[in-house]
């Protein structure tokens, strides 16, 4: 049996007297799309930040593909094959779309010195173009990322997260602020990518429709703890979840 793509064990985080995350443990199987949902203030973002090393957890451990990663810097996590997107727009606005995507891959190729003396594009132009086409942004290749629409920037953000060929991608509210057409497109692309590459996804999302139709398994957080876990259908009919969302 291989190690799970992501294993979270007994993560806790307190801010002052508030327990934002309380002893949370779960595993994510390789190749699955896991949704992490919960009402506002349920500790989703804090948990995400603890997993990604942005916040030091008070206790517990995080393993990626069997490797202990708690306390790692974000750039090291990226080298371990963990990609992520951000809740806010997170592209490099004054660089071209192509440069954005090349940057996302270049640190995973060659040594520090080869990146100074080697090719300006680190030999990644073809790969980057493929990734840009995958998200159907090819007509925008040479535009500045900052001039793209909101939805296009979200797609670009995802393209960047995938560029290094990560085994695990954490998506932080990918649907936030994206219009319906773009949303359908994004979901379809994520599912296709998952099917083609077997990449594991963890998705934090507010948009229930989006999560329910994208994910194969869903974990529900409330007040810092897991209150339910199961397939979308099971979650939909779970009384505890309904209570939590209706402010029970």
């Amino acid at each position: 049996m291989t190690a799970p793509a992501l294993s979270v064990r007994n993560i806790s985080k307190t801010f002052g007297t508030i327990r934002a995350v309380n002893d949370v443990s779960f595993d994510v199987r390789t190749g699955e799309i896991l949704g992490l949902i919960g009402p506002n203030g349920s500790g989703k973002s804090t948990l995400f930040n603890c997993i990604l090393g942005q916040l030091p957890p008070d206790g517990g451990a995080v393993h990626v593909a069997g490797q202990q990663v708690s306390g790692s810097r974000a750039c090291d996590l990226s080298k371990l094959g963990v990609g992520r997107t951000f809740q806010q727009l997170s592209v490099f606005p004054q660089m071209s779309v192509l440069d954005n995507v090349i940057l996302a891959g270049q640190e995973h190729h060659g040594s520090m010195l080869s990146r100074l003396f080697g090719k300006p594009d680190a030999g990644l132009t073809a790969d980057a173009e493929k990734m840009i086409s995958f998200f159907r942004l090819e007509h925008l290749r040479d535009e500045l990322a900052g001039s793209l629409s909101y939805g296009q920037q979200k797609l670009l953000d995802a393209a960047m997260a995938f560029m290094a060929g990560p085994g695990l991608v954490l998506l932080d509210e990918p649907a936030g602020g994206v219009n319906l057409t773009m949303l359908a497109h994004l979901k379809e692309r994520l599912q296709t990518y998952n099917a083609e590459h077997g990449t594991t996804f963890v998705v934090i999302e507010h948009n229930m429709e989006f999560v329910m139709s994208l994910c194969s398994r869903i974990i529900v957080l409330a007040e810092g703890a897991i209150i339910a876990e199961g397939t979308p259908d099971e979650i939909r009919s779970n009384q505890q979840v309904i209570d939590a969302y209706l402010g029970g």
Binding site: L52, S78, F86, M95, D99, L103, R115, F117, A122
Partner: protein
């Protein structure tokens, strides 16, 4: 796409202009032009640190001092400039690494403060260690580089020598800026958190930007030494560092050619404002504040903005057209 074909022509034109500029002028004008080139090199280095990687360094003058004193001491001891100058640059690079490491472990404005302190420290060492630096009297009569067939003793040949060095320095920087390193520098300036999550070791890349920028100051210092043939601690004080910083900002930080424009303004403005006598610095500093309020992108930024207004159809390459939105 016509634009890309125009660019080499424009650069060639500027280069020819730089070659013709000193002809028929007296030694003083040639001297001013030479120091414009030298300060352009120092400002180019700081532009990498500030404009591309988004870090304030206030020690550019003290790195110039390290380059200048190293070159002076070595050439006075009989070494050739071609050996002395690289030694000075490597020294600056290493000192930059050592200085930047602690500062960049902590975020925020720490590099500014540490470099500020460093500038003063270097000044004190230069003034107090007479045995090495000649103390407040400084060092003098450094030889100018001699290339057998091409001697730079006279002002005009020295100008061409400096021009050649400047062109090489600019080409190397151009290479760095468009390499993956350059892309990482820009990413760092625009969104360090995102860059880090994509595997960019932001700490290391910032440190490198700072050290390379410092090495450029070292090169500028190595040229100052034979140009003025007299160096003393006073020429490398904090105010000189501020001057170089303002060159970068006035020219347009993050624009490749910003430093040349900025250095020209800072070197030539005193000549143009000579009629204002002592009020020059007052007017100048007030202009900088006004400029930062209305056009934070500097003079090249104004140029780009005007061009986009009147010729909106052509879009220059992103990395050239857009400077740093300093944040």
């Amino acid at each position: 796409m016509t634009r890309l074909n125009k660019r080499p022509a424009l650069l060639l034109f500027l280069l020819v202009l730089a070659i013709l500029a000193p002809l028929g002028h007296g030694n003083y004008i040639i001297y001013v032009l030479t120091s414009w080139l030298i300060f352009s090199i120092a400002a180019m280095g700081l532009n990498l640190t500030l404009g591309y990687a988004g870090q304030i360094s206030l020690a550019q003058a003290s790195f110039m001092a390290i380059g200048a004193y190293t070159t002076a001491i070595m050439t006075l001891a009989g070494w050739h400039w071609l050996i002395a100058a690289p030694v000075g640059m490597v020294l600056c690079f290493l000192v930059g690494l050592v200085l930047g490491y602690p500062a960049l472990r902590v975020k925020g404005h720490f590099l500014a403060f540490v470099t500020l302190a460093f500038n003063t420290l270097v000044f004190l060492v230069l003034r107090n260690e007479d045995w090495l630096t000649g103390g407040s009297y400084g060092l003098s009569s450094m030889p100018r580089p001699d290339f057998y067939l091409f001697k730079t003793l006279k002002q005009l040949p020295f100008y061409y020598f400096t021009l050649a060095v400047t062109v090489v320095a600019a080409l190397v920087l151009w290479g760095i800026v468009r390499s993956p390193w350059g892309r990482a520098f820009k990413a760092l300036r625009e969104n360090p958190v995102r860059a880090e999550s994509l595997g960019v070791d932001t700490r290391r890349i910032t440190l490198l930007a700072f050290a390379i920028g410092s090495a450029y100051a070292g090169l500028a210092g190595a040229l100052v030494s034979p140009l003025v043939q007299y160096i003393d601690p006073g020429s490398f004080g904090l105010s000189q560092s501020l001057r170089i910083l303002l060159m970068v900002v006035v020219g347009g930080s993050g624009f490749f050619f910003g430093p040349f424009v900025g250095a020209a303004v800072v070197i030539l403005l005193p000549e143009m404002l000579r009629f204002t006598a002592g009020y020059y610095l007052i007017i100048y500093s007030a202009l900088v504040i006004v400029m930062l309020a209305y056009v934070p992108n500097g003079l090249i930024g104004i140029g780009t903005r005007l061009r986009e207004r009147f010729w909106p159809q052509h879009r220059a390459r992103g990395d050239l057209a857009k400077g740093a939105q300093l944040k």
